[in-house]
């Protein structure tokens, strides 16, 4: 099957000499939500802007549905819907107007634009706010206008750059709900530095570090890269020395986070904690643990 997005050794060096991308390759399948996670400055936005035809790569190739983004940007743009990282709505336009005029500018008829705009407003739960000026909406609702604009295009490929940055937890979950609605038949390339967002939404995750993908796979596959599938929180940092023999240990704000070497070690640590009357909890390792582990391995 032809990949929806194909990245082949994509490199980008900015005029000042900064190497933003140092050879990124990946194949993203149709209908997949593919998530790039990594810290600020890792090169995620640069890659997304190249895929979105907004920025030219220094070398390498990117194709969307088999069309080269450098040689045929006009063709590629027919298939794209994007939500840029720092995009802000116009304060004096309503939610409906944002979507309607965007679709009209893309060449849709009046009737088509109105119907698509109304559908998108329903889909992201903005129908009740359709006539409200953006300036009177919360940050979360304004972000959802941008997502509705992207959804309304019905483009096959969606590029979302940190769509929930700066939102409160409730608004983030609402946006996640909107993004899940995007999935029907579409390919979504999403960047985030929020590990729980990637875990909640992505079919596959690529961990980005200093302009390179250092690991890629489903969350369970990535979890397999860790020597341990569980971690233990013990809410007392004073017994750190005694716990060291059970596995790798970190102290965070007076708490001990232990990554046990084996399932047997979990039993022993829990037994130890209960004997010492220490509050203890056993949790599955998260994407964040995988990320930290991989970065530490590199550095």
């Amino acid at each position: 099957m032809q990949p929806a997005i194909l990245l082949d050794d994509v490199r980008k060096t900015y005029k000042g000499g900064a190497n933003a991308l140092r050879g990124v390759s990946a194949s993203i399948q149709p209908g997949e939500i593919f998530c790039l996670v990594g810290p600020n400055g890792a090169g995620k936005t640069t890659l997304l802007r190249i895929v979105g035809t907004q920025l030219e790569p220094t070398s390498g190739s990117v194709s969307i549905l088999g069309i080269d983004v450098v040689r045929k940007p006009k063709e590629v743009r027919q298939h794209l819907g994007i939500v840029p990282q720092e995009a802000i709505t116009d304060p004096e336009l309503s939610a409906f107007e944002h979507i309607y005029y965007y679709l009209r500018a893309r060449g849709q008829s009046r009737r088509g634009a109105r119907e698509s705009a109304e559908r998108a407003l329903h889909l992201v739960g903005l129908w009740d706010h359709r006539g409200t000026m953006a300036v009177r909406l919360s940050g979360g609702l304004r972000r959802r206008i941008l997502i509705a604009m992207a959804i309304s295009t019905e483009a096959e490929i969606m590029l979302l750059d940190e769509p929930t940055t700066g939102l409160d937890p409730l608004a983030r979950r609402q946006v996640w709900h909107d993004l899940a609605a995007l999935k029907s038949g579409r390919t979504v390339l999403l960047t985030t530095h929020s590990m729980d967002e990637a875990e909640a939404l992505a079919d596959r995750v690529a961990i980005f570090h200093e302009g390179r993908i250092i690991a890629v796979g489903t969350v369970p596959q990535l979890r397999g890269k860790l020597p341990n599938r569980h971690k233990i929180y013990i809410e007392d940092g004073t017994h750190g020395a005694a716990l060291q023999r059970f596995g790798r240990m970190e102290e965070v704000a007076g708490k001990v986070v232990l990554y046990p070497e084996s399932d047997l070690a979990i039993d022993e640590v829990v037994h130890f904690a209960l004997t010492e009357n220490l509050p203890v909890s056993v949790l599955p390792t998260s994407l964040e643990d995988i990320y930290i582990h991989l970065i530490k391995e590199r550095t």
Binding site: Q54, E56, P73, I82, P84, P91, E92, R104, A105, R106
Partner: protein, 245 residues
């Protein structure tokens, strides 16, 4: 036809927020208003009517000059333009929509000044076709000049500052709001080489206000207006890119 409706959609989207802010209308009338007041004090309405003709040029030309530079400054803070770049909208449609938005915003001012000129019989109805053509050309020259500035200057803030400065200079320094007869005879051709002067002069001649109405002056004025529009636009399009590199 489809491209035209795309341009109008962008223009409407960009003009609506401005038209919804009534305070900004005051800005349109501030400079012509102050000019009119000063010239009326000095020379009565004999000089004051030149200000009205000048304003008829200044409003559309300035609207054009600042269209893209202001949009670029807005992009620095809003980044919404990225959604249009990564879409079937091309740079020509975006630029035209952008410029048209400014013209829509300027229309109330143009109608107001034009209305006064007609009402006071400073401009006969027979001069209206010329006036409309010149106003539209002034806007087009302004847009092309603004696009050219935006294509050649990389510093976002400097683009906006130069556009504003140039807009001001082009309507205040040459004989746009005062009679060209006040300029020495040997400097008149040079004054007419400035598109804003040519535009004002064409309306003044059509209205019987200027004595500098021989065919060579009139032909030269049309050539300056059309020519500068073509040259600025060609320079802008030869340099502009719809994608960063």
């Amino acid at each position: 036809m489809r491209k035209l409706s795309q341009i109008f959609a962008i223009a409407q989207m960009m003009a609506l927020p401005q038209l919804r802010s009534p305070v900004t209308y005051a800005l349109i009338f501030t400079i012509p208003g102050m000019f009119l007041y000063l010239f009326w004090l000095v020379g009565g309405m004999g000089l004051g009517r030149h200000v009205l003709f000048g304003s008829l040029i200044a409003i559309p030309m300035n609207a054009g000059i600042i269209a893209l530079p202001q949009s670029i400054v807005a992009y620095k803070f809003r980044k919404l333009q990225d959604m249009y770049v990564a879409s079937p909208v091309n740079q020509f449609i975006y630029l035209m929509g952008n410029g048209l938005a400014r013209l829509l915003f300027a229309l109330p001012g143009i109608f107001f000044i034009g209305g006064i000129l007609l009402w006071a019989h400073y401009m006969p109805v027979s001069a209206l076709p010329v006036a409309i053509a010149v106003v539209l050309l002034s806007w087009a020259v302004g847009c092309a000049l603004g696009f050219m500035l935006a294509s050649f200057i990389s510093n976002v803030m400097v683009i906006s500052q130069i556009a504003n400065l140039l807009g001001l200079l082009m309507v205040m320094l040459p004989p746009v709001s005062y009679p060209i007869e006040l300029v020495g005879a040997r400097w008149r051709w040079l004054a007419l080489a400035v598109p804003s002067t040519s535009a004002a002069q064409l309306i003044k001649v059509a209205s019987g206000v200027s004595k500098l109405n021989s065919p060579p002056f009139i032909i030269f004025s049309w050539l300056v207006l059309v020519g500068s529009c073509v040259v600025f636009l060609w320079l802008a399009l030869s340099r502009s890119r719809w994608r960063e590199c």
